[in-house]
């Protein structure tokens, strides 16, 4: 260990304010309850167990991030919660009612661009209200309101292809929120954005969450993003996808990008890294076989390093 660095506190240490906050969260209603949830499917390699015995719950206005190595089934989990996939065992309850299919009580923001390219920004946001059977006027009023909230009222009549990646995801968030869902499910929504836009979108999302009665379940593979956003982080492990740990993030709120270097932040990150990138195992044989044999293709004397 580097002696210059102060020893990090444990990620389990919570300041009084943080502890009190978690206490308050625990007293809230449970919005989402997942019990012994499992998912098996048949593939060409035989039967695969994507998820096994997933247990967790999300309280009202709690911000929960799901993180895990690739193949841990985090996307499968959120798709089951959205009703797009079926689970094979256990149950998922929203407000105590089992989830059987997609519904407007859950909003979803996808990683890829999921806006309808043939509709203008405003009409995209109006899609949900229309499906609910709301009239044109009310749908338009709602859309206007939510577009203002994500700061895109000027682009109401633009088509999605005219917007930048970050703006498109803002529209996608507005489109999901206009239905006033109980929970907002976000499947790596900022994964395709560049670092700068991504940081902006994270702050923006926190702003929205702070001002609206919305509960968020957010999938990411970015550790910093998870710590920066979440109250609790659900850490999954792969093959089969199981809950490894639920971490209560000790970083106090309100969050600012300045906290990335705080001891709590780094302690949490160290723990996450330990869970997600464990000590390197010896490479499996087939990967050793593809080790490149480096040949020098440049002047021997011309060293760049």
């Amino acid at each position: 260990m580097n002696l210059m660095e102060p020893i990090l506190p444990s990620y389990l240490d919570q300041s009084d304010a943080v502890r009190a906050r978690f206490e308050r969260i625990r007293q809230r209603d449970t919005i989402l309850e997942v019990r012994k949830l499992g998912k098996r499917f048949r593939s060409q390699q035989g039967e695969v167990e994507a998820l096994r015995g997933i247990d967790f719950s999300v309280r009202q206005r709690e911000f929960v991030c799901v993180i895990g190595p690739s193949g841990c089934g985090k996307s499968t989990l959120i798709r089951i919660l959205a009703g797009l996939d079926k689970h094979t065992s256990g149950e998922a309850l929203l407000d105590g009612k089992p989830i059987t299919g997609p519904g407007q009580d859950r909003g979803m923001v996808f990683q890829g661009y999921s806006l309808f390219p043939w509709l203008t920004v405003k009409k995209n946001v109006m899609f949900g209200p229309h499906m609910k059977g709301h009239g044109r006027d009310q749908a338009e009023r709602d859309a206007q309101l939510w577009l203002e909230l994500v700061g895109l009222e000027k682009f109401a009549d633009a088509y999605p292809h005219q917007l930048s990646g970050g703006m498109r995801q803002r529209v996608a968030i507005a489109r999901a929120l206009v239905n006033q869902p109980r929970i907002l499910l976000m499947d790596e929504p900022f994964g395709a954005l560049d670092a700068q836009t991504r940081a902006k979108m994270q702050s923006h999302l926190i702003d929205i969450w702070r001002n609206i009665d919305i509960t968020v379940l957010f999938i990411t593979h970015d550790l910093d993003e998870a710590i920066y956003l979440a109250d609790s982080i659900l850490v999954l492990k792969a093959h089969p996808g199981e809950v490894q740990e639920v971490i209560e993030v000790p970083v106090p709120r309100p969050r600012t990008p300045g906290q990335f270097n705080s001891p709590e932040f780094r302690a949490t990150k160290a723990r996450l890294e330990e869970l997600i990138h464990p000590a390197p195992e010896p490479l499996p044989e087939d990967e050793q076989a593809v080790k490149p044999h480096m040949i020098r293709f440049t002047d021997v004397h011309d060293n760049v390093e």
Binding site: L115, W118, L119, G128, Y159, A176
Partner: protein, 322 residues
């Protein structure tokens, strides 16, 4: 090398003016070749058009004879001390010069036919267009919905696509006799051939286009509360519309290729009847004029439809590359 790279390099950044220039060139080059062959007496011209038979008893004015035969007769006449025949090099009757075809084209539309049992070109063409219209409309009325449904619902697709896949290999003209037996000899069987020729391709192509719609869009719509018929009408159909439109344009071209066969079934009619009649009288200038009219109508209508498509689907990005 640089010049070549400049003209043939990245096709994406060829600017509009150059594109128009190349487009015009693609039409002018064949025309130039045709002019060269027609108007330069020493290129090809394997025949001789007799202008004065001289002493040859079986030669007549305006008769086309082989060059070798003509020269032989010239030699014969010189030996016999008779007047040699006169003539000028000419192309075979099946290759009229561009100006002849242009005149035939003009006359076909402006002057009524000299022979009353021969149909006029505009009337023949109008008849053909009607056959295409009804054939394509009927095919689309069945093919478009069936294609969209097959592409959306896997079960329905698996139920009908193997059979359609098989059926589309059966050549449409093979159903000619059958169509006549069932539908009579007039327009019925002709429309049927167009339908048989397009419908089966149409179902498969449109089903495929439908399948290529981003699943994320459908899933997003489902999480926003749309299902069943609304999902189909509010997401699937608008989502594939630009591609569907493009498919329909290609399929319309397909329908035109079946026209000639279709019109030979039962009583010949339309532009095909006109062409075969004119060929029988060896009016090849009229034949060329009619063939080109088909080309102009097909190509022209496609250009108009392409432009209309750009108006109709302003969000469609793939059109920027066309």
């Amino acid at each position: 090398m640089n010049m070549i790279a400049k003209w043939f390099g990245g096709s994406a950044d060829v600017d509009a003016r150059r594109r128009a220039l190349l487009g015009t060139g693609s039409f002018l080059l064949p025309l130039l070749a045709w002019c060269l062959i027609s108007y330069t007496p020493f290129i090809w011209h394997p025949k001789v058009l007799v202008t004065d038979p001289g002493g040859v008893d079986y030669f007549q004015v305006d008769m086309l004879v082989d060059k070798a035969m003509f020269q032989e007769e010239v030699a014969n006449m010189q030996q016999a001390h008779l007047a040699p025949p006169q003539g000028r090099p000419s192309n075979p009757i099946y290759l009229p010069a561009p100006d002849d075809v242009a005149k035939a084209f003009y006359n076909g539309f402006v002057n009524p036919p000299s022979n009353t049992d021969v149909p006029s070109m505009p009337a023949s063409l109008w008849h053909s267009i009607q056959i295409i219209f009804w054939g394509f409309l009927l095919s689309s009325l069945i093919g478009v919905p069936l294609g969209i449904l097959s592409g959306t619902y896997a079960t329905l697709g698996r139920l009908n696509e193997p059979f359609i896949e098989f059926f589309r290999y059966l050549p449409a003209p093979a159903f000619g006799a059958l169509a006549v037996a069932i539908l009579g000899i007039y327009n019925g069987p002709k429309i049927a051939i167009i339908v048989i020729g397009t419908l089966f391709q149409q179902v498969l192509i449109i089903a495929n286009t439908t399948r290529k719609l981003e699943t994320t869009l459908i899933e997003a719509a489902r999480t926003l509360g749309s299902k069943n018929l609304k999902l189909l009408s509010k997401v699937v159909v608008p989502g594939i519309l630009p591609d569907l439109y493009r498919d329909q344009r290609i399929l319309l071209g397909w329908a035109w290729t079946y026209l000639i066969v279709a019109e030979l079934i039962g009583t010949s009619s339309g532009i095909t009847w006109f062409i075969t009649q004119q060929a029988r009288y060896q009016h090849f200038d009229n034949v060329y004029a009619a063939i080109m009219t088909i080309g102009i109508i097909g190509f022209g209508s496609d250009l108009i439809l392409a432009r209309l498509g750009r108006r109709l689907f302003p969000w469609d990005r793939t059109q920027d590359r066309q």
